[in-house]
Amino acid sequence: MTVFAFGFVIVITAFVAAMFLVMPAMVRRTLPLGVSVPQSHVNDPVVRSSIRRYRSGIVAAWVVSVLVSALASPVSSQLVLAVMPLLFIALSGVVYVVTRRSITAAKREGAWYEGATTRLVADASPRRVGHPSVAWLVASVLVVWVTIAIGVAVYPSLPAVIPIHWGGAGQVNGTAPKSVWSVFGVPLITLGVIALFYGMSWLTLVTPPRSVASDTPEQAARRAGAQRHLASAGLGIMSLVLSIGLGLTTIAGWLAPDSDAVMTAALLTTLVLVVAAVAVILVRYYRSMSASRAAATQTASRSVQGGLERERPDAPDDDRYWKFGAVYINRDDPATFVPKRFGVGWTVNLGSPGGIVFAVVIVLIILGALVTVVVVPGLR
Protein backbone atom coordinates (compact mmCIF):
# COMPACT_ATOMS: atom_id res chain seq x y z
CA MET A 1 0.00 0.00 0.00
CA THR A 2 2.34 2.67 -1.27
CA VAL A 3 -0.44 5.26 -1.50
CA PHE A 4 -1.17 4.90 2.20
CA ALA A 5 2.49 5.29 3.17
CA PHE A 6 2.84 8.22 0.81
CA GLY A 7 -0.23 10.01 2.22
CA PHE A 8 0.97 9.28 5.77
CA VAL A 9 4.37 10.94 5.32
CA ILE A 10 2.89 13.87 3.39
CA VAL A 11 0.51 14.64 6.27
CA ILE A 12 3.19 14.20 8.95
CA THR A 13 5.79 16.32 7.18
CA ALA A 14 3.17 18.99 6.35
CA PHE A 15 2.42 19.17 10.07
CA VAL A 16 6.11 19.53 10.92
CA ALA A 17 6.48 22.14 8.15
CA ALA A 18 3.58 24.11 9.65
CA MET A 19 5.37 24.07 13.03
CA PHE A 20 8.57 25.32 11.38
CA LEU A 21 6.59 28.11 9.67
CA VAL A 22 5.06 29.46 12.90
CA MET A 23 8.31 29.06 14.88
CA PRO A 24 9.66 32.60 14.17
CA ALA A 25 6.45 33.94 15.76
CA MET A 26 6.85 31.72 18.84
CA VAL A 27 10.38 32.59 19.89
CA ARG A 28 11.62 35.82 21.47
CA ARG A 29 11.70 38.81 19.14
CA THR A 30 15.33 39.32 20.12
CA LEU A 31 16.17 35.84 18.79
CA PRO A 32 15.10 35.93 15.11
CA LEU A 33 16.12 32.58 13.56
CA GLY A 34 18.11 31.91 16.72
CA VAL A 35 20.44 34.90 16.23
CA SER A 36 20.68 37.16 19.24
CA VAL A 37 19.95 40.79 18.30
CA PRO A 38 19.45 43.90 20.46
CA GLN A 39 15.93 45.30 20.87
CA SER A 40 16.84 48.25 18.64
CA HIS A 41 17.14 45.89 15.66
CA VAL A 42 14.23 43.42 16.05
CA ASN A 43 12.47 45.13 13.12
CA ASP A 44 15.58 45.59 10.99
CA PRO A 45 14.89 45.04 7.25
CA VAL A 46 17.54 42.29 7.20
CA VAL A 47 15.75 40.46 10.05
CA ARG A 48 12.39 40.71 8.28
CA SER A 49 13.70 39.58 4.90
CA SER A 50 15.65 36.70 6.45
CA ILE A 51 12.52 35.38 8.17
CA ARG A 52 10.61 35.69 4.89
CA ARG A 53 13.33 33.76 3.07
CA TYR A 54 13.35 31.14 5.84
CA ARG A 55 9.59 30.60 5.44
CA SER A 56 9.79 30.31 1.63
CA GLY A 57 12.71 27.93 2.09
CA ILE A 58 10.67 25.67 4.39
CA VAL A 59 7.83 25.52 1.85
CA ALA A 60 10.35 24.75 -0.92
CA ALA A 61 11.98 22.02 1.23
CA TRP A 62 8.59 20.37 1.74
CA VAL A 63 7.72 20.51 -1.99
CA VAL A 64 11.10 19.02 -2.93
CA SER A 65 10.70 16.21 -0.36
CA VAL A 66 7.21 15.40 -1.68
CA LEU A 67 8.46 15.33 -5.28
CA VAL A 68 11.44 13.12 -4.40
CA SER A 69 9.25 10.63 -2.55
CA ALA A 70 6.71 10.67 -5.39
CA LEU A 71 9.54 9.53 -7.64
CA ALA A 72 10.74 6.97 -5.07
CA SER A 73 7.32 5.57 -4.18
CA PRO A 74 7.14 3.07 -7.09
CA VAL A 75 10.45 1.63 -5.86
CA SER A 76 9.65 0.98 -2.21
CA SER A 77 7.08 2.29 0.25
CA GLN A 78 9.47 1.55 3.14
CA LEU A 79 12.03 3.82 1.49
CA VAL A 80 9.49 6.64 1.24
CA LEU A 81 8.48 6.23 4.90
CA ALA A 82 12.07 6.36 6.07
CA VAL A 83 13.65 8.83 3.69
CA MET A 84 11.10 11.57 3.11
CA PRO A 85 10.87 12.88 6.71
CA LEU A 86 14.67 12.73 7.00
CA LEU A 87 15.10 14.54 3.69
CA PHE A 88 12.64 17.23 4.77
CA ILE A 89 14.33 17.72 8.16
CA ALA A 90 17.78 17.89 6.52
CA LEU A 91 16.64 20.44 3.91
CA SER A 92 14.92 22.55 6.61
CA GLY A 93 18.13 22.50 8.62
CA VAL A 94 20.04 23.82 5.62
CA VAL A 95 17.41 26.55 5.07
CA TYR A 96 17.68 27.59 8.75
CA VAL A 97 21.49 27.71 8.77
CA VAL A 98 21.68 29.60 5.47
CA THR A 99 18.96 32.21 6.12
CA ARG A 100 20.11 33.05 9.66
CA ARG A 101 23.60 33.68 8.33
CA SER A 102 22.52 36.97 6.70
CA ILE A 103 21.29 38.26 10.09
CA THR A 104 24.61 37.28 11.68
CA ALA A 105 26.53 39.06 8.91
CA ALA A 106 24.41 42.24 9.09
CA LYS A 107 24.80 42.26 12.87
CA ARG A 108 28.57 42.01 12.64
CA GLU A 109 28.96 44.59 9.85
CA GLY A 110 26.53 47.07 11.41
CA ALA A 111 27.93 46.56 14.95
CA TRP A 112 24.36 46.22 16.26
CA TYR A 113 25.48 45.64 19.82
CA GLU A 114 27.71 48.71 19.93
CA GLY A 115 26.33 51.05 22.57
CA ALA A 116 23.70 48.56 23.70
CA THR A 117 23.42 48.09 27.47
CA THR A 118 23.59 44.36 28.18
CA ARG A 119 22.77 42.57 31.41
CA LEU A 120 22.51 39.05 32.74
CA VAL A 121 19.64 38.71 35.19
CA ALA A 122 18.73 36.13 37.84
CA ASP A 123 16.66 35.79 40.97
CA ALA A 124 18.87 35.69 44.05
CA SER A 125 16.14 34.09 46.17
CA PRO A 126 16.18 30.29 46.25
CA ARG A 127 13.65 28.66 43.94
CA ARG A 128 11.11 26.20 45.24
CA VAL A 129 10.84 23.26 42.86
CA GLY A 130 7.43 21.66 42.50
CA HIS A 131 6.71 18.28 41.00
CA PRO A 132 4.83 17.61 37.76
CA SER A 133 1.11 16.82 37.92
CA VAL A 134 0.60 13.21 39.02
CA ALA A 135 -2.92 13.04 37.45
CA TRP A 136 -1.54 12.40 33.94
CA LEU A 137 0.85 9.77 35.27
CA VAL A 138 -1.94 7.92 37.10
CA ALA A 139 -4.28 8.11 34.08
CA SER A 140 -1.56 6.79 31.71
CA VAL A 141 -0.62 3.91 33.99
CA LEU A 142 -4.33 3.07 34.40
CA VAL A 143 -4.73 2.81 30.61
CA VAL A 144 -1.78 0.40 30.44
CA TRP A 145 -3.24 -1.69 33.28
CA VAL A 146 -6.58 -1.94 31.42
CA THR A 147 -4.68 -3.06 28.31
CA ILE A 148 -2.75 -5.67 30.31
CA ALA A 149 -5.98 -6.87 32.01
CA ILE A 150 -7.58 -7.41 28.59
CA GLY A 151 -4.40 -9.23 27.52
CA VAL A 152 -4.55 -11.53 30.55
CA ALA A 153 -8.21 -12.28 29.77
CA VAL A 154 -7.56 -13.20 26.12
CA TYR A 155 -4.16 -14.88 26.66
CA PRO A 156 -5.47 -18.49 26.76
CA SER A 157 -7.40 -17.99 23.52
CA LEU A 158 -4.45 -16.52 21.57
CA PRO A 159 -2.90 -18.79 18.90
CA ALA A 160 0.56 -20.33 19.40
CA VAL A 161 2.07 -17.97 16.84
CA ILE A 162 0.97 -14.35 17.04
CA PRO A 163 1.52 -11.33 14.78
CA ILE A 164 3.89 -8.72 16.22
CA HIS A 165 4.48 -6.40 13.30
CA TRP A 166 2.20 -4.72 10.81
CA GLY A 167 2.90 -2.88 7.55
CA GLY A 168 1.80 0.63 6.72
CA ALA A 169 -1.76 -0.44 5.88
CA GLY A 170 -2.28 -2.88 8.73
CA GLN A 171 -1.21 -6.12 7.01
CA VAL A 172 0.79 -8.58 9.17
CA ASN A 173 4.46 -8.82 8.18
CA GLY A 174 6.02 -10.26 11.33
CA THR A 175 5.11 -13.05 13.75
CA ALA A 176 6.51 -14.57 16.94
CA PRO A 177 5.76 -17.60 19.12
CA LYS A 178 3.31 -16.82 21.92
CA SER A 179 5.09 -15.82 25.15
CA VAL A 180 4.68 -13.29 27.94
CA TRP A 181 7.15 -10.99 26.18
CA SER A 182 5.61 -11.22 22.68
CA VAL A 183 2.11 -10.63 24.10
CA PHE A 184 2.81 -8.04 26.81
CA GLY A 185 5.96 -6.49 25.34
CA VAL A 186 4.29 -3.33 24.05
CA PRO A 187 2.36 -2.52 27.26
CA LEU A 188 5.56 -3.03 29.27
CA ILE A 189 7.49 -0.74 26.92
CA THR A 190 4.64 1.78 27.26
CA LEU A 191 5.20 1.80 31.04
CA GLY A 192 8.85 2.63 30.35
CA VAL A 193 7.83 5.45 28.00
CA ILE A 194 5.47 6.88 30.65
CA ALA A 195 8.27 6.80 33.22
CA LEU A 196 10.58 8.52 30.72
CA PHE A 197 8.04 11.29 30.05
CA TYR A 198 7.43 11.82 33.75
CA GLY A 199 11.17 11.96 34.35
CA MET A 200 11.53 14.50 31.54
CA SER A 201 8.83 16.79 32.93
CA TRP A 202 10.42 16.52 36.38
CA LEU A 203 13.86 17.41 34.95
CA THR A 204 12.50 20.44 33.12
CA LEU A 205 10.84 21.70 36.32
CA VAL A 206 14.13 21.34 38.20
CA THR A 207 15.93 23.33 35.48
CA PRO A 208 16.16 26.97 36.61
CA PRO A 209 14.33 29.39 34.32
CA ARG A 210 16.45 31.72 32.20
CA SER A 211 15.34 35.30 32.65
CA VAL A 212 16.25 37.75 29.94
CA ALA A 213 17.12 41.38 30.72
CA SER A 214 14.76 42.72 28.03
CA ASP A 215 11.72 40.98 29.59
CA THR A 216 9.52 42.89 32.00
CA PRO A 217 8.83 40.95 35.23
CA GLU A 218 5.26 40.12 34.06
CA GLN A 219 6.58 38.87 30.72
CA ALA A 220 9.19 36.72 32.44
CA ALA A 221 6.51 35.27 34.74
CA ARG A 222 4.21 34.54 31.79
CA ARG A 223 6.98 32.88 29.85
CA ALA A 224 8.11 30.80 32.83
CA GLY A 225 4.46 29.77 33.37
CA ALA A 226 4.07 28.72 29.73
CA GLN A 227 7.22 26.62 29.91
CA ARG A 228 6.25 25.06 33.22
CA HIS A 229 2.87 24.16 31.73
CA LEU A 230 4.57 22.72 28.66
CA ALA A 231 6.81 20.61 30.87
CA SER A 232 4.10 19.34 33.17
CA ALA A 233 0.77 19.16 31.32
CA GLY A 234 2.22 18.95 27.80
CA LEU A 235 4.34 15.87 28.50
CA GLY A 236 1.50 14.44 30.63
CA ILE A 237 -0.99 14.73 27.77
CA MET A 238 1.54 13.12 25.40
CA SER A 239 2.11 10.16 27.71
CA LEU A 240 -1.66 9.60 28.09
CA VAL A 241 -2.24 9.84 24.34
CA LEU A 242 0.63 7.42 23.63
CA SER A 243 -0.69 4.93 26.21
CA ILE A 244 -4.15 5.05 24.62
CA GLY A 245 -2.75 4.73 21.09
CA LEU A 246 -0.36 1.88 21.88
CA GLY A 247 -3.08 0.19 23.97
CA LEU A 248 -5.58 0.38 21.11
CA THR A 249 -3.17 -1.06 18.54
CA THR A 250 -2.10 -3.82 20.96
CA ILE A 251 -5.71 -4.79 21.71
CA ALA A 252 -6.50 -4.68 17.99
CA GLY A 253 -3.59 -7.07 17.41
CA TRP A 254 -4.93 -9.51 20.04
CA LEU A 255 -8.61 -9.43 19.10
CA ALA A 256 -8.51 -9.02 15.33
CA PRO A 257 -4.99 -9.89 14.13
CA ASP A 258 -6.13 -10.67 10.57
CA SER A 259 -8.37 -7.68 10.03
CA ASP A 260 -6.59 -4.97 8.06
CA ALA A 261 -9.45 -2.58 8.72
CA VAL A 262 -9.36 -2.83 12.53
CA MET A 263 -5.58 -2.40 12.64
CA THR A 264 -5.69 0.55 10.22
CA ALA A 265 -8.43 2.17 12.31
CA ALA A 266 -6.37 1.73 15.50
CA LEU A 267 -3.25 3.17 13.84
CA LEU A 268 -5.18 6.12 12.41
CA THR A 269 -6.84 6.83 15.79
CA THR A 270 -3.38 6.86 17.40
CA LEU A 271 -2.05 9.18 14.73
CA VAL A 272 -4.98 11.58 15.02
CA LEU A 273 -4.72 11.59 18.83
CA VAL A 274 -0.98 12.34 18.77
CA VAL A 275 -1.31 15.09 16.16
CA ALA A 276 -4.28 16.63 18.01
CA ALA A 277 -2.41 16.54 21.34
CA VAL A 278 0.69 18.17 19.84
CA ALA A 279 -1.51 20.81 18.16
CA VAL A 280 -3.38 21.60 21.41
CA ILE A 281 -0.12 21.87 23.38
CA LEU A 282 1.52 24.09 20.76
CA VAL A 283 -1.51 26.38 20.35
CA ARG A 284 -1.66 26.94 24.12
CA TYR A 285 2.07 27.59 24.24
CA TYR A 286 1.81 29.94 21.25
CA ARG A 287 -1.05 31.88 22.90
CA SER A 288 0.85 32.54 26.12
CA MET A 289 4.01 33.40 24.18
CA SER A 290 2.24 35.84 21.84
CA ALA A 291 0.49 37.38 24.87
CA SER A 292 3.91 38.04 26.40
CA ARG A 293 5.09 39.53 23.10
CA ALA A 294 2.02 41.78 22.93
CA ALA A 295 2.75 42.94 26.48
CA ALA A 296 6.30 43.78 25.36
CA THR A 297 5.06 45.88 22.40
CA GLN A 298 2.64 47.73 24.69
CA THR A 299 5.36 48.51 27.20
CA ALA A 300 7.63 49.71 24.37
CA SER A 301 5.00 52.07 22.90
CA ARG A 302 4.14 53.37 26.37
CA SER A 303 7.78 54.22 27.01
CA VAL A 304 7.96 56.02 23.64
CA GLN A 305 4.83 58.08 24.38
CA GLY A 306 5.51 58.82 28.01
CA GLY A 307 9.25 59.16 27.60
CA LEU A 308 9.50 58.28 31.29
CA GLU A 309 10.14 54.58 31.20
CA ARG A 310 13.71 53.83 30.24
CA GLU A 311 14.36 51.19 27.62
CA ARG A 312 15.14 47.87 29.24
CA PRO A 313 18.70 46.53 28.91
CA ASP A 314 19.44 43.83 26.35
CA ALA A 315 20.49 40.26 26.89
CA PRO A 316 24.17 39.87 25.90
CA ASP A 317 25.03 38.44 22.50
CA ASP A 318 25.56 34.73 23.23
CA ASP A 319 25.71 33.43 19.65
CA ARG A 320 29.19 31.99 20.23
CA TYR A 321 27.73 29.31 22.53
CA TRP A 322 25.21 28.15 19.92
CA LYS A 323 26.75 26.13 17.09
CA PHE A 324 24.53 26.49 13.98
CA GLY A 325 22.01 28.25 16.22
CA ALA A 326 20.93 24.87 17.58
CA VAL A 327 23.64 23.10 19.63
CA TYR A 328 24.53 24.71 22.96
CA ILE A 329 28.10 24.28 24.21
CA ASN A 330 29.10 26.41 27.20
CA ARG A 331 31.65 24.94 29.57
CA ASP A 332 31.13 27.66 32.18
CA ASP A 333 27.37 27.16 32.37
CA PRO A 334 26.53 24.54 35.05
CA ALA A 335 23.01 24.05 33.62
CA THR A 336 22.42 20.62 32.05
CA PHE A 337 19.24 21.71 30.26
CA VAL A 338 18.65 25.11 28.69
CA PRO A 339 15.66 26.48 26.74
CA LYS A 340 15.95 25.82 23.01
CA ARG A 341 17.35 28.61 20.87
CA PHE A 342 14.79 28.30 18.09
CA GLY A 343 12.00 25.97 19.08
CA VAL A 344 9.78 24.77 21.89
CA GLY A 345 11.19 23.03 24.95
CA TRP A 346 14.69 22.35 26.12
CA THR A 347 18.04 21.19 24.82
CA VAL A 348 21.14 19.90 26.59
CA ASN A 349 24.30 21.87 27.30
CA LEU A 350 27.01 19.81 25.58
CA GLY A 351 29.59 21.73 27.61
CA SER A 352 28.35 20.30 30.94
CA PRO A 353 29.11 16.75 32.16
CA GLY A 354 25.39 16.08 32.72
CA GLY A 355 24.54 17.27 29.22
CA ILE A 356 27.20 15.05 27.64
CA VAL A 357 25.99 11.99 29.59
CA PHE A 358 22.37 12.74 28.61
CA ALA A 359 23.29 13.14 24.94
CA VAL A 360 25.29 9.89 24.93
CA VAL A 361 22.39 8.00 26.55
CA ILE A 362 19.94 9.37 23.95
CA VAL A 363 22.26 8.41 21.08
CA LEU A 364 22.66 4.90 22.55
CA ILE A 365 18.87 4.53 22.89
CA ILE A 366 18.37 5.59 19.25
CA LEU A 367 21.14 3.26 18.07
CA GLY A 368 19.67 0.44 20.16
CA ALA A 369 16.21 1.03 18.68
CA LEU A 370 17.66 1.06 15.15
CA VAL A 371 19.55 -2.18 15.80
CA THR A 372 16.47 -3.95 17.18
CA VAL A 373 14.19 -2.71 14.41
CA VAL A 374 16.49 -2.90 11.38
CA VAL A 375 19.37 -5.29 12.07
CA VAL A 376 17.86 -8.00 14.29
CA PRO A 377 14.88 -8.87 12.01
CA GLY A 378 17.31 -8.99 9.07
CA LEU A 379 19.37 -11.68 10.85
CA ARG A 380 16.41 -14.00 11.33
Binding site: L120, A122, D123, P126, P208, S211, A213
Partner: protein, 141 residues
Protein backbone atom coordinates in the same frame (compact mmCIF):
# COMPACT_ATOMS: atom_id res chain seq x y z
CA UNK B 1 15.38 39.78 44.59
CA UNK B 2 16.27 40.21 40.93
CA UNK B 3 19.98 40.76 40.27
CA UNK B 4 21.39 42.21 37.04
CA UNK B 5 25.08 42.03 36.17
CA UNK B 6 26.94 43.52 33.22
CA UNK B 7 28.90 40.86 31.28
CA UNK B 8 31.04 43.38 29.37
CA UNK B 9 31.92 45.65 32.29
CA UNK B 10 35.49 46.04 33.58
CA UNK B 11 34.20 45.24 37.06
CA UNK B 12 34.52 41.47 37.60
CA UNK B 13 31.22 39.57 37.69
CA UNK B 14 31.78 38.31 41.28
CA UNK B 15 32.38 41.89 42.42
CA UNK B 16 29.16 43.04 40.69
CA UNK B 17 27.24 40.19 42.31
CA UNK B 18 28.61 41.16 45.73
CA UNK B 19 27.81 44.85 45.08
CA UNK B 20 24.18 44.12 44.06
CA UNK B 21 23.60 42.00 47.18
CA UNK B 22 25.05 44.73 49.43
CA UNK B 23 22.76 47.28 47.75
CA UNK B 24 19.83 44.90 48.19
CA UNK B 25 20.56 44.69 51.93
CA UNK B 26 20.92 48.49 52.20
CA UNK B 27 17.58 49.12 50.49
CA UNK B 28 15.80 46.48 52.56
CA UNK B 29 15.11 44.15 49.61
CA UNK B 30 17.11 41.57 51.53
CA UNK B 31 16.95 41.41 55.31
CA UNK B 32 18.77 39.34 57.92
CA UNK B 33 17.69 35.71 57.94
CA UNK B 34 16.60 35.71 54.30
CA UNK B 35 18.08 32.87 52.24
CA UNK B 36 20.04 33.36 49.01
CA UNK B 37 19.91 30.90 46.11
CA UNK B 38 22.50 28.09 46.24
CA UNK B 39 25.67 28.83 44.23
CA UNK B 40 24.91 26.37 41.41
CA UNK B 41 21.29 27.47 41.11
CA UNK B 42 22.25 31.12 40.75
CA UNK B 43 25.08 30.29 38.32
CA UNK B 44 22.69 28.20 36.20
CA UNK B 45 20.22 31.09 36.01
CA UNK B 46 22.94 33.47 34.83
CA UNK B 47 24.63 30.84 32.69
CA UNK B 48 28.01 31.66 34.27
CA UNK B 49 30.71 29.65 36.01
CA UNK B 50 29.68 28.56 39.57
CA UNK B 51 33.16 29.54 40.77
CA UNK B 52 32.32 33.17 39.95
CA UNK B 53 29.19 33.09 42.10
CA UNK B 54 31.08 31.27 44.87
CA UNK B 55 33.72 34.02 44.82
CA UNK B 56 31.02 36.69 45.20
CA UNK B 57 29.52 34.78 48.12
CA UNK B 58 33.00 34.46 49.66
CA UNK B 59 33.39 38.25 49.62
CA UNK B 60 30.01 38.66 51.34
CA UNK B 61 30.94 36.03 53.94
CA UNK B 62 34.27 37.76 54.64
CA UNK B 63 32.35 40.98 55.27
CA UNK B 64 30.02 39.21 57.68
CA UNK B 65 26.97 39.91 55.49
CA UNK B 66 26.40 36.26 54.61
CA UNK B 67 26.40 33.06 56.64
CA UNK B 68 26.50 29.64 55.03
CA UNK B 69 25.06 26.77 57.03
CA UNK B 70 25.76 23.19 56.11
CA UNK B 71 22.05 22.42 55.92
CA UNK B 72 20.16 25.69 55.54
CA UNK B 73 22.37 27.10 52.78
CA UNK B 74 23.41 30.75 52.50
CA UNK B 75 21.51 33.25 54.62
CA UNK B 76 21.81 37.05 54.90
CA UNK B 77 23.52 37.64 58.27
CA UNK B 78 23.24 41.39 58.78
CA UNK B 79 21.04 44.30 57.78
CA UNK B 80 20.71 48.01 58.72
CA UNK B 81 19.02 47.10 62.04
CA UNK B 82 22.23 45.45 63.29
CA UNK B 83 24.79 47.08 65.58
CA UNK B 84 27.56 49.02 63.82
CA UNK B 85 30.36 46.96 62.34
CA UNK B 86 33.89 46.27 63.60
CA UNK B 87 36.34 49.15 63.81
CA UNK B 88 38.82 47.68 61.30
CA UNK B 89 36.07 46.95 58.77
CA UNK B 90 34.91 50.52 59.09
CA UNK B 91 38.48 51.76 58.65
CA UNK B 92 38.78 49.73 55.44
CA UNK B 93 35.52 51.18 54.12
CA UNK B 94 36.61 54.67 55.08
CA UNK B 95 39.82 54.25 53.05
CA UNK B 96 37.83 53.15 50.00
CA UNK B 97 35.42 56.05 50.46
CA UNK B 98 38.40 58.41 50.56
CA UNK B 99 39.55 57.13 47.15
CA UNK B 100 36.03 57.45 45.77
CA UNK B 101 35.73 61.03 47.03
CA UNK B 102 39.18 61.85 45.67
CA UNK B 103 38.04 60.68 42.22
CA UNK B 104 35.21 63.22 42.24
CA UNK B 105 37.36 66.02 43.65
CA UNK B 106 40.14 65.32 41.15
CA UNK B 107 37.61 65.61 38.33
CA UNK B 108 36.56 69.03 39.62
CA UNK B 109 33.28 68.26 41.40
CA UNK B 110 32.52 70.79 44.19
CA UNK B 111 32.07 69.45 47.76
CA UNK B 112 28.38 70.38 47.77
CA UNK B 113 27.79 68.34 44.64
CA UNK B 114 29.52 65.33 46.16
CA UNK B 115 27.48 65.60 49.35
CA UNK B 116 24.28 65.93 47.33
CA UNK B 117 25.12 62.70 45.48
CA UNK B 118 25.77 60.96 48.78
CA UNK B 119 22.53 62.23 50.31
CA UNK B 120 20.38 61.20 47.35
CA UNK B 121 21.97 57.73 47.28
CA UNK B 122 21.27 57.30 51.01
CA UNK B 123 17.71 58.47 50.43
CA UNK B 124 17.09 55.82 47.75
CA UNK B 125 18.17 53.18 50.28
CA UNK B 126 16.10 54.46 53.18
CA UNK B 127 13.06 55.23 51.01
CA UNK B 128 12.91 51.67 49.74
CA UNK B 129 13.30 50.24 53.23
CA UNK B 130 10.11 49.72 55.26
CA UNK B 131 11.74 50.49 58.62
CA UNK B 132 14.26 53.23 58.04
CA UNK B 133 16.44 53.53 61.06
CA UNK B 134 19.77 54.21 59.35
CA UNK B 135 18.72 57.86 58.93
CA UNK B 136 18.41 58.29 62.70
CA UNK B 137 21.85 56.77 63.16
CA UNK B 138 23.08 59.14 60.49
CA UNK B 139 21.64 62.15 62.33
CA UNK B 140 22.99 61.19 65.73
CA UNK B 141 26.51 60.92 64.37
Amino acid sequence: MQIAIDPVSNVPLYQQLRDRVVEGIASGELSAGEPLAPVRQLAAQFGINPATVAKGYDLLRAEGLLLTHRTAGSVVARDPRNAPWHADAEADWSARLRTLLAEAVAQGMPDDGILQHARSALQTFSAARPTSDSTTKEDSR
